[in-house]
Amino acid sequence: MKRTIPLFISAVTGFVLIATAFIPKFVDWGNDAMAWFNLLAAFAFVLGGGNLLKMQLQKISAQQPGWGYSAVTLIAFFITLFVGLAKVGVHPNVNFPEFAWSGDYLEEGSVFWWFFEYIFTPLSATMFALLAFYISSAAFRAFRAKNTEATILLIIAVIVLLGRTYASEWLTGGFSNEPIFGENGITYSDFKLDHLTQIIMEDFTTPGMRAIKIGIALGVASTSLKVLLGVDRSYLGSDQEA
């Protein structure tokens, strides 16, 4: 009951969806399954909120260090949830003004919109902007040409970094269109940094990434197969958890 049914469910769902690729008749079933899948994904957001609630409440009730911040999180969570679900400050749909709830929950000027625009946006954007600073200090303290591999990596990185800005024009803009030797078609301007960058991307990064992708594809396929066949059951967790 605890293990057999889930294995059965996942196997049936998975194989039906695989079959949709080959048997047109299955496409409609597959679409129904995907519609349910998307609904479950929406409930996963609700589950995420519930989990957050549960964890923060535990922290607060246990008076763990920093429980005050948990309270802040909870307050922010509930206020946002309330203004979003209650459509605070939302006008009804212009075509149906007598339906008070027909408006758009993210309408410009509503409270939920305000939360997004003036709290969520700056916080998330700045969190990511911090990474630029970390990269700068890592550049100074961590990226060392310790071995051949790291040396190649750093040299290429420098070429691409320069080639993707106006620096390539400054440094190598003067390279002329004259052929280097004979009639072989290679000119000095082929060694401009931006052109080098292009060659690196097209002739070296592309094959490298292709091989990585081929490897990942095979890895994904074999992992998926193991899940569907019930060989890999790690997603079920251990029995103690239940």
Binding site: D28, D104, F116, A139, A142
Partner: protein
């Protein structure tokens, strides 16, 4: 000297980085760009379509990546507006809804003749659906199972643009602007590759190398990072000089100034760090 450099507080480096980005930004320095082949491919994909073609604009990013991707999304929107294309907006990120809104604002404010008040006949906002690749899988097979109504709750059967649309296999172009998962990779995996939907993407620098092998077979073209956005803006301005007056159409170009200074700073830091490293090693062995 070595001692000082070895024990340098990293906050000084942070400050350097801040200055390197802030100063060119305040000065507003811009450099001329020449669109590269990849960007021209994207430009042509949008420009060579007949006026009034159907374009799905999937904006899968959030405010965290807007710094890099907003210029691309705006440029795509402007270019489509200049070509009077019909645009279907959608997103796989919950935070993407306001991002769509800013593109729609461009349509209404800068191209009122073609778009203002023409919701449903020239553009439609499908909004967000949960399910990541599940949504893509569904919209390429059966749009209305995923989107029964648009973002305003209007039934898709009551909207002229979507009334006869069974799925998005038949659109003329798919424009995707993406900040990660779900995004470009998923659109290629579940949309453009199995159903041969012509696709162009604009993606973050982090994703760009990962998307590279798909060009040109599965992807028509790609705008990679802020440089791609700047070149694309330049390509549009070259063809439609009226945009040169619009400062908003040069967002990406303006960002290339800080980019240059910061890149040079980073290269300097890497070089200096390595000099210290080899110096240390020499002292250690001596």
């Amino acid at each position: 000297m070595l001692k000082i450099l070895q024990n340098l507080d990293r906050r000084w480096i942070f400050l350097l980085m801040f200055v390197a980005v802030a100063v060119p930004l305040i000065m507003g320095t811009t450099f001329p760009e020449t669109p590269s082949g990849e960007v021209i491919a994207v430009f042509d994909a949008v420009d060579n379509l007949p006026d009034g073609s159907n374009i799905v604009m999937a904006l899968d990013y959030d405010p965290a990546s807007a710094g890099e991707l907003q210029p691309m999304a705006s440029a795509f929107t402007r270019h489509c507006a200049l070509k009077k294309h019909n645009i279907y907006f959608m997103t796989l990120w919950p935070q993407g809804i306001p991002m769509i809104q800013s593109s729609i604002d461009i349509l209404n404010e800068e191209y009122p003749k073609t778009y203002k008040g023409k919701y449903g006949t020239k553009y439609v906002n499908l909004g967000f659906r949960a399910g990541n690749e599940g949504v893509i899988k569904l919209v390429v097979e059966d749009l209305k199972k995923s989107y029964s109504a648009d973002i305003h709750g209007t039934n898709l059967d009551n909207i002229p643009l979507t009334k006869n649309l069974k799925n998005i296999q038949q659109v003329d172009l798919l424009c995707n602007v993406s900040a990660g998962y779900p995004g470009s990779q998923e659109w290629v995996l579940y949309g453009s590759s199995p159903f041969d939907i012509p696709t162009v993407v604009g993606c973050t620098g982090v994703q760009a190398p990962i998307m590279l092998p798909y060009i040109p077979d599965q992807l028509t073209g790609m705008l990679a990072a802020i440089k791609g956005a700047a070149e694309y803006e330049q390509a549009i301005i070259n063809h439609y000089p009226q945009l040169a007056e619009n400062p908003k159409a040069k967002e990406g170009l303006i960002r290339m100034g800080p980019q240059l200074v910061a890149h040079v700073l980073l290269i300097g830091l890497i070089a200096l760090g390595n000099v210290i490293y080899f110096w240390e090693r020499k002292q250690g062995t001596a």
